[in-house]
Symmetry: C2
Subunit: 467 residues, 2 copies
């Protein structure tokens, strides 16, 4: 993502409560804007069933009709991300995302975004471990132009010296500002590196600095050629459009781009079984408020088989949802009074491995050691006592409400569906996720809690120099 906005998809394990909430919302495929009142009834045209088709060159297309406002969100997702980078070239996926805003054979450097802006729209992009996405939100009658430009840069990207060299300085600067200057982000990076023994999910999306410094046009072009093709992409169009019209436009603009026959199924090195609990202690003078975070390897949502992940999602919602209902917040912040905050999160929206995390920011006067012991206590109590029926219903209600809320936002639906399809789920999986979540039983939640394996976890303490 370019400088106008945060650059990377939120990396998990994220550690700040706010980031975790956002991550949780993403993972739920929902927008949990619970502070806003729920609408009494669904708007007439919201919630239409998304339509799906595939072009002959393999481009998967999803159309979400929502005719209430004359705007459209045009998103192109590539099924490639930081986890697909060649060894030693960490950061190349994100770097290429930046370079996609440079020149093509038909457009000047910067022209893409200038045209979007001149047409009253906004655009941006994001990179995750599993995918890279580009989107524009414009007036519905500009869809034709957006497709033309997006298709152009799928096939005709040019990477000139005058672009790639300064842009490398930009991503290095971004690493400095967004990551290295923030101890909690460095901590998060170190946590992932300790969690993953083999899978490239342990490598930061933005890249290791010493490797970023070696990235160049050759590496970027190679990555582009290897991964950017219609048969490795998903087009999502949401808003004031007609499915047949979208099909015709997609055929016109994307249709002529040939598939890349060398693109096979995504295959990355997977994690071996883990046999030893890991701990990590990071001391940094800039840390004013110590906290601890524990991240476990966890299941992912699988195509046609989302039930296991759903139980972990419900577990996260129960343990660490909003302050009113969260088991951890209630026990640690309110009852025991030892924490400023406590949280839980699950990210099962990944192709290969999910993560489940727990965290506590202790109140001054409480040590991280005490806080961690209390956290473990509460988790044991939870497993022993079982799920509180009333809380369970409340969480189910929140999830249902958030889903209804999302139906009202075509752009949010596009993001959710795009993220789901990009990690290998089907449209049916994506649309069925709410039902799968609501089918989870309290017993399954407890089973998920019991399945959390300390041998496949890292517990990290972030503290000041004196801590």
């Amino acid at each position: 993502m370019r400088s106008r906005a945060p650059s990377l998809a939120v990396p998990a394990p994220s550690v700040r409560p706010l980031a975790l909430l956002w991550q949780l919302a993403l993972a739920l495929g929902l927008l949990l804007l619970l502070a806003l009142p729920l609408r009494a009834a669904e708007p007439a045209t919201a919630g239409t069933v998304p339509q799906e088709f595939t072009l002959e060159n393999g481009l998967q297309v999803v159309v979400i009709e929502d005719r209430r406002a004359p705007v459209v969100t045009h998103m192109l997702w590539y099924r490639v991300g930081a986890a697909d980078e060649p060894p030693g070239q960490s950061g190349i996926a994100h770097y290429l995302e930046h370079l996609m805003f440079k020149a093509t054979d038909n457009m000047e450097e910067g022209e893409f975004s200038a045209v979007v802006e001149a047409n009253g729209g906004r655009d941006n992009a994001f990179t995750s471990w599993d995918y890279t996405g580009y989107f524009q939100r414009v007036a519905a009658d500009r869809l034709d132009l957006m497709m033309q430009m997006e298709a152009d840069r799928m096939a005709n990207l040019r990477i000139d010296l005058s672009d790639w060299l300064p842009e490398r300085a930009v991503i290095l600067e971004e690493r400095g500002q967004v990551l290295e200057s923030r101890p909690e982000r460095v901590f998060s990076e170190q946590m992932r590196a300790a969690l993953f023994q083999n899978h490239p999910y342990g490598i930061p999306i933005i890249g290791w600095r010493h490797e970023m410094e070696t990235l160049d046009d050759v590496a970027a072009k190679e990555f582009y050629r290897a991964h950017y093709a219609p048969n490795n992409a998903i087009l999502i169009v949401a808003g004031d459009v007609d499915t047949d019209a979208v099909r015709a436009l997609a055929e016109e603009h994307y249709g002529p781009i040939p598939a890349n026959p060398d693109i096979g199924p995504v295959a990355r090195p997977m994690e071996p079984p883990h046999f030893a609990e890991r701990r990590l202690i990071m001391r940094d003078g800039r840390v004013a408020q110590p906290f601890l975070n524990r991240v476990y390897l966890a299941p992912v949502r699988r195509a046609g088989d989302q039930a296991e992940a759903a139980a972990f999602q419900m577990l996260a919602a129960l343990l660490g949802g909003s302050a009113q209902t969260s088991v951890l917040e209630r026990a640690l912040t309110h009852d025991r009074g030892i924490a400023l905050s406590a949280w839980a999160g699950f990210n099962g929206n990944a192709r290969d491995h999910g993560t489940f995390s727990l965290g506590v920011t202790p109140r001054p006067g409480t040590s991280l050691d005490e806080a961690e012991a209390a956290l473990d206590d509460v988790l044991s109590e939870f497993i022993e006592t079982g799920v509180d029926a009333e809380q369970f219903e409340r969480v189910q209600m929140q999830i249902r409400a958030a889903a209804i809320y999302e139906l009202d936002d075509a752009g949010a639906r596009a993001r959710t569906i795009g993220a789901d399809l990009s990690v290998g789920l089907t449209l049916d999986d994506s649309l069925g996720w709410l039902e799968t979540l609501l089918d989870v039983t309290p017993e399954q939640v407890i089973a998920a809690a019991q399945a959390l394996d300390r041998n496949a976890s890292v517990t990290g303490w972030l503290m000041g120099e004196e801590g």
Copy 2:
């Protein structure tokens, strides 16, 4: 290495005192057989200066003449090992080592070793992260035959289904027996995985089981084609030979094999800076005697610049050498009486990153926590007090004695020089290592101890289920 002997080069961080001593010996490039009496004088023909030349196809050759017995050690080292494996194919380097004993276009499966044996010799092979080596020890007049066969399998390996499929079962069985059935080896594997965030040194040489299960003839052939060529190999011939005669034989057998022009300098993903201390706790019911080990990232011996690594080597020798002189043993086992043993080790014989390790096996009744605190105490005291002059001289004398001892063993010299050249050192570096070690000052040793960075370390506890 085939079943007749341990299969892999000793992986560091190894954790058992015995293994560490062996590792230390390897790292010193010496054989510290101190239990045996030192010979009063050097044998007349020992210690000749090794000769070096390179064939036109890039094969580097070192000849160590030692005419005292009519035997010869013929070693071929490839500058490729487990750290060069494609992602997801861990174990392929070692698997290929096994397959090298199968058929070629000119020999049947098993014929290689049968011929060696029929000629009264013995042969074997080994795989490390940085190299793969093959050797035979035979009567000197059989060198011609050894070269003929070794050159044959450099160029003409055949990998038939009847060989590769059962051999995969063999390496899986080997993993089970040599590694998975031994908690301390699993622990060592987990330690390395936690230590290295980016470099493939974190991946076990033998491979992750789930990846080994997918290895096949296609992967093995590809690895063979990519890396096995004269310009990626070092031939060491040591024993009752004449350099000119060896040159003629090498020209005859290896000379006709063309160089592989696609082989460039070794380049692997390197470690980023580390910012957080890691800890690891492994519980296993089979562990009768808990112990702790700490492994730090450390420098390596660099071509033309070995002084830094030499200081760490001397530090290891002082802290953890033989029981009589070791700082750790004396302080923890004798003075404080809290340890059954304590050790230190350094492995700087690696292409990219070295490791320095410290460990303690506490006496029953002393917890790992107490033992670790005591270890840290002793290390601090050592830094504060400085090096004991008498102990320093004793260690220097031991190193000198071991070097003299090694001069008497042509096979050991071949192994030492081969391991040195395989990681990128020159023959001059290899021959100058003893001098470099003896040039280290006590101040440089203390500086090395001070440079040990907890943020670039993993401290592991291996304990029983109840621990």
